[in-house]
Symmetry: C2
Subunit: 172 residues, 2 copies
Amino acid sequence: MIYDLVVPQFTKMLGNLLAILDEAEKFAEEKKFDVGVLLQSRLAPDQFNLTRQVQVACDTAKLGAARLTDTEKDAPAHADTEQTITEIKSRIESVIAYLDGFSSERFAGAAERRISQPRWNGKSLSGHEFLIQHVIPNFYFHATMVHAILRHNGVNIGKSSYLGVMPFRDPA
Amino acid sequence: MIYDLVVPQFTKMLGNLLAILDEAEKFAEEKKFDVGVLLQSRLAPDQFNLTRQVQVACDTAKLGAARLTDTEKDAPAHADTEQTITEIKSRIESVIAYLDGFSSERFAGAAERRISQPRWNGKSLSGHEFLIQHVIPNFYFHATMVHAILRHNGVNIGKSSYLGVMPFRDPA
């Protein structure tokens, strides 16, 4: 279950983010403005801009998987230096590729592991608490903020762009 | 795990939403405008307004728990007629009270249950798919949109208002 919540589902959502960024590029071309304007956009002056929202969504997925499996030292480093939409999309693709390397077996014992991060000053959560109360709400927060910033700027996306395709079974 | 993802965690997030709406009321009082303006606010003309975002977050939690436990007929009805912030907060409180009635035992077998909703025209998801690919991302989407709309309007909230308190253990 932890694997399914983190690896395939975050991979799917990151893929949806790539498609949303494609829509942003299309919109900028049609309206003849530099898509970089959207990357710098935010909903409030003291909020992260679009680029930073993508970076934090990516880091939440990457470090969530790494910390739950106690393999943070093996996670790829990202310098947060992306300037263009191509670089932003590469960042997302690199996290998708990283997640693809995880098997469900690697998450054995993850719920019981004690997990901390630098800014917590030695305080910790169980893996179960970290996943449910931090990683999941935080990941969806930043993924939704990407959507909200683009939606506010007129990009042609809706909730189905965010949720993506459902694996429906047809009626019997 | 399903119980923990849905019942205590959505309860916590709905409590955070109540606190965020308190901040919205405080902001409206300070600035001397009717808080109803915020309830009608949205980030794009074809997006749900704040009231509707809260209603859908509430319904996603309520119907998520109900469908996963196959007890939809017992779920309280909500007519979506809320006009004031007091009514909106009562809606949230009623879902918190509803969730409080669930025990973890009621979620036995939820992952394997076939789940549908009216608009799916007979198509279905497994409970596992429904939870991970629909209920969870949808709930956090609308909870984050409430945050985004208020943040955009200048209400004094940050990501910690959204995530709420973490059950940290102090360093040993």
